[in-house]
Amino acid sequence: MMIKNRLNLAVWFWAAISALVLCSPAWGAGIVASTSFGEDNEIIVEFRTPVEVAIAGEAQRYRVFEETDPDILLPVTEVEVADDGTRATLRFADPLNTTSAHVVNAQGIGGLESTTFTVSKSYLGYLLTVLISALLIKNFVFTKYLGLCVFFGTSKRKETAKGMGVVFTIVVVVAVSMSWVLYQYVLKPFHLDYLQIVVFIGLTSLTVQAVDTVLRKVNPVLFKSFGVFLVLVIANCVVIAVPLLMASNEYNYFETLMLSLGAGGGFLLALYLMSSVRERVELARVPEPFKGLPIAFIVAGQFAMAFLGFSGLQLF
């Protein structure tokens, strides 16, 4: 029952984030309502009030550059304006580097002498990319090959798989949040980067101990079913890989949160998929020497190949 509630919660959380991304507020100064990247060599501009189609369609009125390279102008080859004048599509000779922000300066559009606006990917979309990436594209178990001992140990039954996944997610989110604070405000300013390993593993042990104590006092019933998994969390390499990744990518807090949620969710997903298969494999006629772990490894290999299909996935 508890797990079902959690799953429901997760679904709601996802829905809320998607809604936020989809109707990200149309902000921007002056006549420009919103901007976005279209095809790989396109910038799409929506105007608040219709502009004159003939004027807005002149390519030489636009000066576009990447924010980091203000001296290199990207040549606009063609501008296509919708008939009602509310939308212009700027096309470029080469594909744009959509990871960096682009600055567009338009001369004489919509009666204004000059307007400047930036085009960048939506930040919420980027956060969601971090989450999806950790969850599927760079799934820690199937594409980074981490946390395997615990993965094979607890994926025999669906019940244990779910329990382990949920406990792991909670611990990872708490521990990585603390690691972020300590890394940003202690390790980095004092150049103690080499203490990363000790600090991150220490914080994880601390979190495990804290969750253990709190759960034992607050909800002994829950502790009875989940307590055993707490010990296993510490032996899971993912728990140390996530903060290390956070540190090397210099993520901010929200990105860190998304990364740890994705890592936990990805582990839960991997465990659930694997346990579903292993429950059935047990009934199948497997050659004697391959019973147990060997066949589990081969199944995991097939999952890993399937997960390769997610690579290159771009949603936002």
Partner: protein
């Protein structure tokens, strides 16, 4: 309690009877992740050997000093210290090999096998016995990694230690990342089969 095994038995125990990769099925992540070449396997094997031996000896030395209630945190601290030492050393003196191993050196800190040996062996036994036990376990891991690396490198890129021996690539599939699972699974099955057929012959 002192162990009744001599040093040779302790070492072979780690390599054969209780091989961490093929028998105990612990510390599987690097066996799957970076065992694409013999050199990679060897380097990580050496790193694990170093951490295992030094941690075992350290814990064995200070076993009377450790307060029983903070046993596990002390183990973690010891392992983390030695992992940091080997991590910094490899990064400084073997940058090319270190780049190949990526995050896996740091991840040794979460290897169940090391903590397990400390808890089961080093905290009860004498220093020399712990040394031999650590050496055996580390060597067992190293041998496992090298064997997997050998198979993958030979079949995947037709080479050993980077030298082209076959002149062609039999199955590129074997050095692709996801093939690690298949190689380990097949090898485990293979060893089980050999063991089973020996046992059968023994009965007859």
């Amino acid at each position: 309690m002192a162990t009744d095994k001599n040093s040779l038995q302790l070492v072979t125990n780690g390599i054969l009877q209780e091989n961490p990769i093929f028998k105990l099925a612990l510390s599987m992540c690097p066996a799957v992740g970076i065992s694409t070449t013999v050199v990679n396997g060897l380097m990580l094997g050496i790193a694990v050997l170093f951490v295992q031996v030094f941690s075992s000896v350290t814990i064995s030395l200070i076993k009377d000093f450790i307060h029983p209630r903070i046993r596990i945190p002390t183990y973690t601290l010891t392992i983390a210290t030695w992992v940091t030492v080997i991590d910094l050393t490899l990064a400084a003196y073997f940058p090319a090999a270190y780049a190949q191993m990526g995050i896996f050196v740091k991840i040794i800190v979460a290897f169940a096998i090391i903590t397990m040996r400390l808890e089961m062996f080093a905290c009860k036994e004498s220093v020399p016995a712990s040394f031999w036990d650590g050496l055996g376990m580390g060597l067992g891991f190293l041998v496992g990694m090298v064997v997997i690396g050998f198979v993958r490198e030979l079949l995947g890129s037709g080479a050993i230690f980077g030298y082209d021996v076959l002149g062609f690539k039999p199955l590129l599939f074997f050095i692709l990342p996801s093939a690690g699972f298949f190689v380990v699974g097949l090898m485990m099955g293979f060893f089980n089969w050999i063991e089973a057929s020996y046992a059968k012959r023994g009965k007859k």
